[in-house]
């Protein structure tokens, strides 16, 4: 069960067509007067906030939320559902509610023995390819996928990852490539995502992309329920993104929710990070990550 909170407008609500979507347990909305002081949406918007409880997240709904300009912001939280008539819960059953952390907890380096994955490939009308990957091994999922693509000289154009039940789902948009190369990438992804450690495909050689300190800006936001890193990089070659993600993983920060974008030579990504070993991210760690990426000791 997930709680989905969406900040949008009346038109955005109509476009989402939530009323006809399956897996909705409860959905409602209320009006909010929001004043966004900066950013592209201007100020003083008569908006609405939607709160939906969904038994199963669908990839197309998340894609829609990502693509629609009228969706100003959305947030996903894992929760459980019960009924009041089931209220006489035994103490043992109560303990089933996890003690903390709303989203999927990061998995340890050696906590998973097997990791079945599901890879779907769809050709988009633009000629590009959309890869949808599901894995129950969340450990450095995004970093591994981006590494395999970089290893095969494939430039990632857009992506997003999010937790779904006990899995992680990633949607990746890449340029068109031939079937032979695609098949090879699929095999590598299966192998890499099944591993509990990083770096079985030999992509360590990309760990120093030629990103200068002037080209990279990383800002940390700890105001939400999860810390997020906003990455702005004016250097986008095949290996840049992997260099950034690898540096974050080296400091034992795991990414389960992410949005990767940018235009042309620019990277504009947001990563929601969680510590793997109870070391929460701070500005000091962000500075060290920045220095690691740029090679600026």
């Amino acid at each position: 069960m997930h709680k989905l909170e969406i900040h949008t407008t009346e038109e955005g609500l109509a476009r989402l067509n939530l009323i006809n979507r399956s897996h909705l347990v409860k959905t409602g909305y209320y009006r909010v007067d929001s004043k966004i002081l900066s950013g592209k949406y201007g100020s003083s918007l008569p908006d609405i906030k939607i709160e939906a409880f969904i038994s199963q997240l669908s990839v197309d709904l998340i894609s829609l939320l990502e693509a629609d300009d009228l969706i100003y912001q959305y947030n996903l939280t894992e929760c459980t559902q019960t009924y009041l008539f089931e209220s006489l819960i035994s103490d043992a059953e109560q303990e089933k509610v996890p003690p903390a952390m709303p989203e999927i907890s990061p998995k340890g380096h050696s906590s998973i023995e097997t990791a079945p994955i599901d890879i779907q490939i769809k050709a988009l009308p633009s000629g590009k390819l959309k890869l949808t990957l599901q894995s129950n091994n969340t450990t450095f999922f995004l970093c591994k996928v981006v590494g395999v693509l970089a290893q095969n000289d494939v430039l990632l154009e857009k992506a997003q990852t999010f937790p779904q039940s006990d899995h992680i789902v990633g949607i990746f948009v890449i340029p068109h490539i031939n079937m032979e190369q695609l098949s090879y990438i699929k095999d590598q992804l299966s192998q890499e995502l099944a591993a509990t450690q990083m770096g079985n495909c030999g992509y360590k050689k990309f760990s120093r992309a030629a990103i200068s300190p002037e080209e990279l800006q990383i800002s940390l936001d700890t105001s939400g329920s999860m810390a997020s890193l906003k990455i702005r990089c004016n250097h986008n070659d095949i290996h840049s993104r992997f260099a950034i993600l690898e540096a974050i993983s080296l400091y034992d920060q795991e990414i389960t929710i992410s949005r990767l974008g940018g235009l042309g030579k620019k990277i504009e990504d947001t990563y929601y990070v969680k510590p793997v070993k109870d070391i929460f991210i701070t500005n000091d760690i962000v500075n060290q990550i920045t220095k690691h990426i740029t090679g600026n000791k």
Partner: protein, 109 residues
């Protein structure tokens, strides 16, 4: 610590809830009026003798934050306040939350 969310009839006064809930360790109780939509939540209204079906129904959403150990007693109390019929059809959503010491948070940043 958990956050319990449920949707109740807007006719139920939050004042009626706040007193008993404060006695069982509820840290925070807040409410918001929401329009609920979906195939099962259409409201029926009568205008000049004609029955009309609305697209939405109005409900009040309660957000209750309390220690997870007090969940059972909270449910028991809500069941008494809402009555057996309402309790049968009221889904409750539980989100585990982690309190953050604001001073510690600032120090870390």
């Amino acid at each position: 610590m958990i956050k319990v969310e449920l949707f109740i009839s807007p006719s139920l006064s939050i004042e009626k809830l706040s007193e008993p809930l404060s006695q069982i360790g509820v840290i925070s109780l807040s409410s918001i009026d929401m329009k609920i939509f979906g195939s099962e939540t259409k409201s029926q209204t009568s205008y000049r003798g004609v029955q009309r079906s609305g697209k939405h129904s109005n409900r009040t959403k309660l957000e209750i934050i309390l220690p997870s150990l007090n969940q059972t007693i909270l449910f028991k109390m809500l069941k008494e306040i809402l009555g057996p019929e309402e309790s049968l059809v009221t889904p409750v959503f539980i989100t585990p939350i982690k309190p953050v010491d604001s001073l510690q948070h600032v120090a870390m940043a």
